[in-house]
Each structure stands twice: as structure tokens, then as C-alpha cells.
Symmetry: C2
Subunit: 308 residues, 2 copies
């Protein structure tokens, strides 16, 4: 009970297995009372532990994290912040969404100092140029092998730091020649760009795309991360927000093919959508909708190959 | 070092504050080597701690959680699972997305036994009816005060359990007469439905909507949760995925008004969009786009009131 006095927002919680309650109405004789300090009483009746709220805060704030979406191009932008120094980064910012990103970072008292691109995007304009104009300290970051201009270039195996946070850089080419996966080992998170999408992957038919290389990148780099690591993709077209290494190893309909079949699949996908290449290029055109068709339509190609 | 031998995916990580590295190219002399068991070596050079990977897995799996989006109606559906019993729930499933939700739950070896609606939706058809057809054990759940048909009705203060997980139910009327916020105290999460949206709130001009009641619900219930609790809304129209109690208390442009001004604002919002009422009703019409206009357009109303 001493802990309850120390913690401002003390909460008890239930952990005991309880059979599904199938009463038609579930009420409470203790209907939302308040604790002595005016907080809502969130205790559940089957109390086993006193919740260490201070620990929970620390855990939740070990890294500040927000996933943000651009519905026009189906692009995810990630805001990551160091809770101690307030230094922050954006991964794959979108030009049109920069004002939103800067505003929310300001409100969260975060100082965006880097913008990391996972690769040279072909389906949306990166926000890093606009961010450089808006924020005097801001630096753009991309892989050296991308061949793109940037303030900082990263090589395979590099460690990149913001505040007290550490990112490990994995070169994962195949979608483009310079794709990079950014891993936060401490937080069991990896940002895969278009190398690996949820139950899908990026196309490989332009920008030094190479389906054999992509297959190796995914299996030798991303899929050798621990099974429980969360994977956050560059895009999603079906409303998913994250996946895990374990899930994609087992259920990604493309990457669970053997290498030869995967290469064949990626080739047939292009044959099925020949107009996409012209429409996706040049870089920086907004072709999110077209990508959506390519992802959703891939099930037809897979079914021809007997995968479904 | 003994711990390293025990843990399969042992990772070291860096916590020491490191000045921003502004070298133009950041490489590594230890480019993605592998550990003895074939895992990628994710160590950062400034090692302070040996990462307790087993603890991290336990932390990550204290509740299974996926946020899913329906781009047609801008609705978030939440899949929550008990890692021990595999019992799972969906909060606010959308009719058209049920097949997606059921498939991903199957792949994650989760057994969806309940579908909880935060309220009677007017902008999309709930998926709970379809889920009852697909899953024999599935039960629909909603507040008693909603007046809606369901297998289980909940009252303010009720505790609702799935597997070893416990949800505390907070009655938060105002958007509709029967709105419920579902809180997982152990995981510092609350699902607010349309009572509170990120930097916004649900409309209050139909279905027993009452802006005075909504104001009280938010301030007396949602905003008295601990500051660090994550809030997950029923919709978002700008690409945000979550917020915190602290942020909304400070930056929600509507709820930071005093009560009188808030009521006036909600009234003026309707006057500015009179056609919305007819289009939003009857219930179950898909009016996501219209809601989007109402949210985005609210900045004009606020600016007239001198709030911006």
C-alpha cells in the first residue's frame, strides 16, 4: 500500500484468468468512483498486482513514436523522438504533409533534426527538402548507394543516433538499388520502406530494381531479425499498420515462395500491369493509386501460380 | 555474459547521449556481421546495457494489439488479443472490412469472441452482425444506454474481460446518448470512439447528441485518465493514429474552449454545414467523406471565434 501513496495515478489491474462473462448486462456496484486524489478509480475486481505506474510511464516513453499516414499516396511517415533530449527524426516524410508533421512535433516539444528516407521514392515527393527550408538545423539522410543528394549518407551497418536513441542501418536493396531498413534494436522496431510491405513487397521493375536481390535482402536481413520485432512499412493499401518478422516469414504470399518462383512472380506481376512502369516514372509523381492496384491485383497472379 | 548464452536473440544497445553525428557519410567497420547463432549483430558501439530480450518479448506481448483502418469511412478498428489464452476482441469493426479482420486474426492464432461497438455508428455499417454469422462463439457488445440490440450490454463502470485482459467501461455520452469509452488500465490505452477524436471530437447534432454532455464526458472521464494514457479514436481524417490525454488536454482546439464556447462552437459548426445532418442520417450510411469536411472545416469556425 506504500506504493499507492507514492504513485499519483495508481491503478490496480486484473491478471487472473476469468471465464467469458456472458451475462446480457454487465454493470458495476462501484460505478466509476474516484480515488482520493480525484482520479477515476480504474481498479478491476480481480486484483492480483498493484500496477507500477511509474514503470509504465518509463516504458511507454522509452521512445516517443507516432505513425502517420498520407491517404493520397498511402505512405506512412514515422515520427520518433528521444524522451530525454527531445531530439526527433522523421522517416519518409511526404512533401504535402510536412506542415502536419512539423506542427505535431512542435506540440510534442520535439525538435526534428533529421529526415531519413528509406530510398528514393517514385510515388510521392519526399518532404525532406521542405523540412530543410522550415527547420534551420534539419539534415536530410539517405543511403550512400541510393546515389541521391543528401546532407548525410549512410552505409550498411552504420549506427545513426538522435538524442540517446540508436538506429542500426541495414542495406536492403532490390526495390531500388539504395534501399535501407532502419532498425531500433532497443525497441524491437524496424522500418522497412518498400523492401517489405505487410503481406507484400515493393515492385522491382525500375530504379535498379532486382527481384533476386530483394529476396536476398528480405531473407538475409529483415527475416533474420528476432521474430517478435515489429515491422513498419513504407506503404499500406489495406489498412494495416504494422506486422512482425514472424508473421511475414509465415504469411507473406510473395516472400514465402522460393527464390525462383518469387522472381517469376515479380516478372509476371509486371507483365500483368505494363502501363504501371510508365506511370510510376519519373520519380516524384504521385502514383499511390496505381501501386494500390498492383498490390491488390497480385493475388490474381499468385493464384495462377498455384500459391493460393 | 551468462545472459547472452541464455537468450537466443541477444542484443546490446546504446543509451549514452551521443552528439549528433554530422559526418557526411556514416559507415561501419563492422558492417552487419552475424552472431554465433546466425542472427544479425545489432550491437551499437556505445554499449551500456545488455538488452534483456526475453523481458522485451514479454513486454511487447502483454497485450496483442493491431490498429486497422478503413479508408472509405476513415474508421479505425482495433484488434486486441490475450497472449496467454488467444481470446481476442474487435472494437468498432466495419462491415466491409470483416474478412480482412477475420483473416489477420486467424493468422495471428487469435479467437475473436467479442465485437465491442463504442456507440451506434451513423457513418458506417458495423461488422458485428457479419461476425456473428462467420464465428459461432462471437458475441456483440454495446452500452445498455445505446438502446441498440446486442448479445451483451454494458453499464458505466463495468469490467469486461477477454482472456486475462480487463477492460474498464466509461460511459461518455454526448456524441450519441450511449457512447462508451473502453479503457485498458494495465496497458495505458483508451478507445474513445467518436467522443474524442485527435484534436477534434464527434458531432453532437443527432442521435441524442448533446454538446454540453460531451464536454462533461471528456473532462470528467477521458481527461481524468492519467496524462500518459494513449487515446485511440474511432476515426481520423488527417493521418494521425493515436494521441495522449496530456496532448488533447492542451491542444484539442474544441475541448480547450470553456464549456459555453464549446457548446456555441458545436452549434455554429452545424450552421456552417446544414446539409450534413440529412446526409449523415439514417444510420449506417457511409458518410466518411462528409465527416472529413466537417472536421477539416472546423478550423474556419474556430477562427471566427477568435480561438486561432
Amino acid at each position: 500500500m506504500k506504493m499507492l501513496g507514492i504513485l499519483k495515478h495508481s491503478i490496480r489491474y486484473c491478471r487472473r484468468p476469468v471465464a467469458a462473462n456472458l451475462q446480457s448486462t454487465i454493470g458495476s456496484t462501484n460505478s466509476n468512483k474516484r480515488t482520493l486524489d480525484g482520479q477515476l478509480d480504474l481498479r478491476c475486481t480481480h486484483v492480483r498486482h498493484v500496477h507500477d505506474d511509474a514503470k509504465r510511464v518509463a516504458e511507454h516513453e522509452s521512445v516517443i513514436f507516432r505513425q502517420m499516414f498520407d491517404g493520397e499516396t498511402y505512405t506512412y511517415t514515422y515520427l520518433l523522438g528521444c524522451p530525454e533530449t527531445r531530439a526527433a527524426i522523421l522517416i519518409d516524410p511526404v512533401y504535402e504533409m510536412v506542415d502536419r508533421d512539423v506542427k505535431v512535433a512542435e506540440e510534442m516539444e520535439l525538435d526534428i533534426i533529421y529526415g531519413l528516407n528509406t530510398h528514393v521514392h517514385a510515388d510521392h515527393v519526399t518532404g525532406t527538402g521542405k523540412l530543410k527550408e522550415l527547420l534551420p538545423r534539419f539534415k536530410s539522410v539517405i543511403s550512400k548507394s541510393s546515389g541521391a543528394k543528401a546532407d548525410i549518407h549512410l552505409e550498411d551497418g552504420a549506427e545513426f543516433k538522435f538524442g540517446n536513441q540508436c538506429i542500426k542501418c541495414l542495406s536492403t536493396p532490390g526495390h531500388t538499388g539504395g534501399c535501407m531498413t532502419y532498425v531500433l534494436p532497443e525497441h524491437a522496431m524496424a522500418f522497412t520502406g518498400d523492401a517489405l510491405l505487410i503481406r507484400a513487397c515493393g515492385r522491382t521493375d525500375f530504379q535498379e530494381g532486382d527481384s533476386g536481390k530483394l529476396y536476398e535482402s528480405v531473407w538475409r536481413k529483415i527475416f533474420t531479425l528476432p521474430n517478435h520485432f515489429y515491422l513498419y512499412p513504407g506503404h499500406d493499401y489495406r489498412g494495416f499498420s504494422r506486422t512482425t518478422v514472424a508473421e511475414e516469414k509465415k504469411f507473406n504470399p510473395r516472400l514465402t515462395l522460393d527464390k525462383e518462383k518469387f522472381v517469376q512472380f515479380m516478372k509476371e506481376l509486371d507483365l500483368a500491369y505494363p502501363k504501371l512502369i510508365d506511370k510510376s516514372l519519373p520519380a516524384n509523381l504521385k502514383c499511390g493509386e496505381i501501386s494500390k492496384e498492383a498490390i491488390l491485383g497480385s493475388e490474381d497472379v499468385l493464384s495462377h501460380m498455384g500459391n493460393h
